[in-house]
Amino acid sequence: MGRTLPSITQTFYIEQEAFARFRRALRRGDQLALDDLFNAARQHLAPAAYAANALPMEIFILAMLLEEHKEVLRLRQQLETLRGAKHDPADGLDP
C-alpha cells in the first residue's frame, strides 16, 4: 500500500524471472539445482530488504553463496566426525 518501489519479494521474482531463458535451456537436473539456489536466496529476503542495495541481484547471489558455505561447513563437520570415528573407534560408538 502506498509504496513507490516494488517490495523485496517482488524484486526477487523479477530477478528470478530474468533468468527464465537461462533456466529453460538447462538440463532438468541443473534446473532443479538452480531452483535450490534461488530458494536459498529467498531465505534472506528481510536482510536483503534492509540492505536496500541498488543492485539487488548482488545480494541474492551473496545469499546463495552464504547458504552454499553453510552447507560446506556442515559437510566438513560431518566429515571430521566420521574421520574421528575412524581413527578412534570408541568415540563413534553408540552406548
Binding site: 500500500m1 502506498g2 509504496r3 513507490t4 518501489l5 517490495s7 530458494n39 529467498r42 531465505q43 534472506h44 529476503l45 528481510a46 530488504a49 534492509y50 536496500a52 541498488a54
Partner: protein, 759 residues
C-alpha cells in the same frame, strides 16, 4: 442562576441558539441547555486578496468579527499573518465559509471544517460523557467546568438508559416477522404484520422509557428507514429525536478504499439529544462493543453516534485537531503539502516497511514470543516523529520539544499501557478485566492507525517522510532486539515487524526470558512484553512450494493452554464456519500435548475428528448456514470482466432487484454446475442435494493439511486416507501412539495404517 452537575450526552449547533448541550443531570433529568459559542476560521493569502475578502465579508448580512492575527501552520517554517473570521453563530459558519471559498478560491483556508464537538473540546475541555458542573440561567449555560479528564482510568458511570430494538432475523436474508424490544431485563416482541399496533406500542415504549441510547441491529440500513416509512404511511409520529426542533439526521451509504481494500458503509440514521447505534453498521463493534465505543468517544472527543460509525482514522485525526486548536496551530482545510523530491538512492532507503523475516519452517518447542508494546506509536513518541520536526536519526530524536503527533499520542499510549497493566493485575472474577480489555482494544486501534495517517496524503498532519521515519525506527528497534537476543545466546526463529520468536536450550519459563526483555528495553528505549512461552509452535510453508516459508502463517499453544493461530483457514473470513470449526477442533485436540514430543500420540484422534467432520458433511448433517462462504465485492457487479464466485452470487441478487455495492460482503453456498454458487440472501432456499460436496471436502482437506503437515503427516497420504474414509485399524493404534518422530523421519499415512519413512 442554578448550579448543576451531570454528564454530557450530546452537543450540536442549533440555528439562532448557539450550541445545544444535552446534560444527563445527577438527579436523572435530561436537559437541553443552550450556550453562546462563537467559532473562528482563518484565511491566508496575498495582502490585496485578504483586503478584498475583508470588504466582501463586511457586506454580508450579520457580518462576522474580523481580526488580523499570527498563527502557526505546521508545514511552514514561520508563523503566518492570517485573517480570523469569527461567527457568533456556529450554525452559520459552514454556509459563510462555503460562500467565501466560492468567491475567493485562491486563498488558503484553515479551521474551516472542524466538528463542533472538537472546537468545544479544545475550548472547554469537554468530551462525550464528561462529568461537569454547569451554571445555568433560564436554560442558557453560562459557565461549564469539566470535573474529570478523558485520560482518567475510572470514571463514575453515568446512569444511561438503553433500549435495544432488533428484527428477529437478518432482513437482508428473509422478511422479519417481529421486532424484539429489550429494556433492562424486560423483553417484548412486536409483531410486524400489524404495523399500526407496532407503531403505537413503540411510541409508548419510547415515551415511557425515554432511552439515552437506542441500540439496534440493521437500524441504519433497514429497521429505522422502514419504521419511519410506516409511520408516515399511517400518519403516526415516532419520537426518536429528543430534540423536537430537529428532524432525523441522514447520511448516505458509501464505498471507499482503505488499506488496499474496498470498504462499504451503509447509510446512517442519526438522532439529536439521543444516540442511535446500529451494531451491524458500527465499525469494530464486535471487538470493542459499547464500552469500547464510549471509550473511543471519550478520548477522541467525537460525538458517540459518529464514533460508533467512523474509522479509527477519523478518531485519531480528531485528537490531533483538538491538540492543534489548543496549541494555536492552524488546521488546514485542504492540505497543500506534497512530497519533497528525493533521489533514487534516498527513495531506495526510505521506501521500506517493517522488518519481516522468513521464519524457520516447522515445529519448534519452547519458544518465547517477545513483542514491542504498541511499537510504532512508541517509536513516534520516543523519536519525536511529527510532520514539523526534522526526521530522527534511527531512534534518536532530532529535537527535544515534542511535536504535535507525539503530544497527541503520549497520553493515549500511557492510558493503554495503564489499562493493560491494571488488567493483568486484576483477579479473574473482577468484571473490570473484561471492560479494561475492550477499552484497551479500542485505544489500540487509534494507536495503530495513527501511523498509517502519517503517510496518508489527505491527512491534515500527514507527511510521508515522517511515516518513513517510523518504519525506519521500527526496523532499527527490531535489529537491536535481534542483536540483544543473539548476544544472550538465543536463536531467533522469526521476526515480524514488532515481534520476535526466540529459543534457547534449557529456557522454558517466562522468568528465563526476563533478562532478554530488560536488555531489549535498555538497547531500544521502547517497552517490550513477553506475549508468552509456546509449548510448541509451527511455522508453515507456502502452499505452492513447501520449501518456501510464509511470514505470517503459524499456530501454536502457549504454556497456559491458549491457542494462537495466524494466517490459517480458521482465521480467514471467507472460510465456511464448518471448515473453521473442524480445524479449530483438531487444534484444540492437539493443544492437549504438554510437550511437542506428545504430539504424534494425538494424531489418530485428530484424524478421527477430521473424518467425523467429513462424514457429517456426506450425511447432510451440517446446517447450510455453516457451509456459507463470505466474500467481499471488490467492484461494481457489472464491472467484472470474468465474474468471481462472489460476483456471480451478487448477480443472482441483482436479478431479484437487490443491488450490492463494492465493499459489501456476499454470502453464498458452493453448488454443482453453473453458476456454481447460490446467494444465501435469496428468498428461494438452496437445493441442498446440489451442494458441491467435493469442493467442501477439498476445503476441509486443505485446512487439515495446514495443521497436520508440520507434524509430519504428508498431504497426499492424508488425502487418500480421508477420502477413502478408513478408520485407523485397531492393531495399528498402539503402534501409532509410540511414534516418537526422531529427527529426519516423517509419518506417512496410507489407507491402511501409518508407516514410518525416511524424509
Amino acid at each position: 442562576m442554578t448550579l448543576l452537575t451531570g454528564w454530557i450526552l450530546d452537543l450540536y449547533e442549533t440555528p439562532g441558539q448557539g450550541v445545544s448541550l444535552w446534560l444527563l443531570a445527577e438527579d436523572g433529568r435530561r436537559l437541553c441547555l443552550q450556550q453562546d459559542f462563537p467559532c473562528v476560521f482563518y484565511a491566508w493569502g496575498p495582502p490585496h486578496r485578504l483586503r478584498a475578502l475583508w470588504r466582501w465579508l463586511q457586506q454580508q448580512p450579520d457580518p462576522p468579527r474580523l481580526e488580523r492575527v499570527q498563527r502557526r501552520d505546521l508545514f511552514q517554517p514561520e508563523p503566518l499573518d492570517v485573517m480570523a473570521i469569527e461567527t457568533a453563530e456556529p450554525a452559520r459558519l459552514p454556509e459563510l465559509f462555503r460562500l467565501a471559498e466560492q468567491n475567493f478560491p485562491d486563498l488558503t483556508w484553515y479551521d474551516a471544517d472542524i466538528q463542533l464537538s472538537l472546537r468545544h473540546a479544545a475550548r472547554h475541555g469537554t468530551f462525550p460523557l464528561a462529568c461537569c458542573r454547569v451554571e445555568v440561567e433560564e436554560n442558557r449555560l453560562r459557565r461549564i467546568e469539566v470535573l474529570d479528564s478523558r485520560w482518567d482510568l475510572d470514571t463514575d458511570p453515568p446512569p444511561l438508559r438503553i433500549l435495544s430494538l432488533r428484527p428477529d432475523c437478518d432482513p437482508a436474508h428473509q422478511a422479519p416477522s417481529c421486532l424484539l424490544v429489550e429494556v433492562g431485563r424486560c423483553q417484548q416482541e412486536l409483531a410486524i404484520q400489524h404495523p399500526l399496533a407496532l407503531l403505537n406500542n413503540l411510541r409508548y415504549l419510547l415515551q415511557k422509557h425515554d432511552p439515552d441510547l437506542l441500540l439496534t441491529a440493521w437500524g441504519d440500513t433497514w429497521l429505522l428507514p422502514w419504521l419511519l416509512e410506516q409511520a408516515e404511511t399511517w400518519g403516526r409520529s415516532l419520537p426518536f429525536n429528543r430534540d423536537e426542533r430537529r428532524g432525523i439526521g441522514w447520511r448516505r451509504e458509501r464505498s471507499y478504499f482503505s488499506y488496499g481494500q474496498i470498504v462499504y458503509q451503509g447509510q446512517q440514521v442519526l438522532f439529536y439529544g439521543r444516540w442511535h447505534i446500529d451494531q451491524k453498521n458500527a465499525m469494530l463493534w464486535s471487538d470493542s462493543g459499547l464500552e469500547g465505543t464510549l471509550e473511543s468517544a471519550r478520548v477522541t472527543g467525537l460525538p458517540v453516534q459518529m464514533t460508533a460509525r467512523c474509522s479509527p482514522g477519523t478518531g485519531i485525526s480528531a485528537m490531533q485537531m483538538i491538540e492543534a486548536l489548543r496549541s494555536g496551530v492552524l488546521v488546514p482545510w485542504h492540505k497543500q503539502q506534497s512530497e519533497a523530491p528525493k533521489n533514487a538512492l534516498d527513495l531506495l532507503h526510505a521506501d521500506q516497511g517493517g522488518l519481516v523475516y522468513q521464519p524457520k519452517i516447522g515445529l519448534h518447542r519452547l519458544v518465547g514470543a517477545v513483542d514491542f508494546v504498541s511499537m510504532y506509536p512508541s517509536v513516534m513518541v520516543k523519536a519525536n516523529i511529527s510532520p514539523e520536526v526534522p526526521p530522527p536519526d534511527g531512534l534518536t530524536p532530532a529535537s527535544e520539544a515534542p511535536g504535535l503527533v507525539p503530544r497527541t499520542l503520549q497520553p493515549l499510549l500511557a492510558k493503554r499501557v495503564a489499562l493493560k497493566q491494571r488488567r493483568a493485575a486484576l483477579p479473574a472474577w473482577d468484571p473490570r478485566r473484561r471492560t479494561d480489555q475492550v477499552r484497551s482494544a479500542a485505544l489500540k486501534w487509534l494507536l495503530v492507525v495513527c501511523f498509517g495517517y502519517l503517510g496518508y496524503k489527505n491527512a491534515r498532519f500527514g507527511r510521508i517522510e515522517a511515516h518513513e521515519a517510523v518504519t525506519s525506527g521500527g526496523r532499527e528497534a527490531c535489529l537491536r532486539a535481534k542483536e540483544a537476543a543473539e548476544d544472550l545466546g538465543f536463536e531467533v526463529l522469526h521476526i515480524y515487524v514488532d515481534g520476535l520468536w526466540v529459543q534457547q536450550a534449557g529456557f522454558s519459563s517466562p522468568a528465563d526470558f526476563q533478562p532478554l526483555l530488560q536488555e531489549i528495553e535498555r538497547r531500544t528505549g521502547l517497552p517490550v512484553g513477553l506475549d508468552g512461552v509456546y509449548r510448541w509452535v509451527a511455522f508453515l510453508p507456502s502452499r505452492l512450494d513447501a520449501r518456501v516459508p510464509v511470514a505470517n502463517r503459524y499456530f501454536g499453544v502457549f504454556q497456559n493452554g491458549e491457542i494462537k493461530v495466524r494466517g490459517i483457514e480458521a482465521r480467514r473470513r471467507d472460510t465456511p464456519p464448518w471448515v473453521a470449526g473442524a480445524q479449530m477442533a483438531v487444534l484444540t485436540h492437539l493443544a492437549q500435548a504438554e510437550d511437542a514430543r506428545d504430539l504424534p500420540a494425538l494424531i489418530p484422534g485428530a484424524l478421527e475428528l477430521a473424518r467425523q467432520a467429513l462424514l457429517s458433511l456426506r450425511r447432510g448433517e451440517v446446517p447450510a448456514a455453516d457451509l456459507l462462504t463470505t466474500q467481499r465485492l471488490s467492484r461494481e457487479v457489472k464491472a467484472y470482466a470474468a465474474p468471481s464466485p462472489a460476483a456471480r452470487a451478487a448477480l443472482q441478487l441483482l436479478a431479484l432487484g437487490r443491488e450490492l455495492r463494492p465493499g459489501q460482503r456476499v454470502r453464498f453456498l458452493w453448488m454443482r454446475g453453473w453458476p456454481g454458487v447460490h446467494a444465501w440472501d435469496q428468498p428461494t432456499p438452496p437445493n441442498l442435494a446440489a451442494l458441491d460436496l467435493p469442493r467442501y471436502e477439498t476445503l476441509l482437506l486443505r485446512a487439515m493439511e495446514s495443521v497436520l503437515q508440520p507434524l509430519g503427516v504428508q498431504s497426499e497420504g492424508l488425502r487418500i486416507w480421508l477420502r477413502e474414509g478408513q478408520r485407523v485399524s485397531q492393531p495399528a493404534l498402539p503402534q501409532l501412539a509410540h511414534l516418537a518422530l526422531p529427527e529426519g523421519e516423517k509419518l506417512a499415512l496410507t489407507p491402511v495404517c501409518l508407516q514410518r519413512q525416511h524424509a
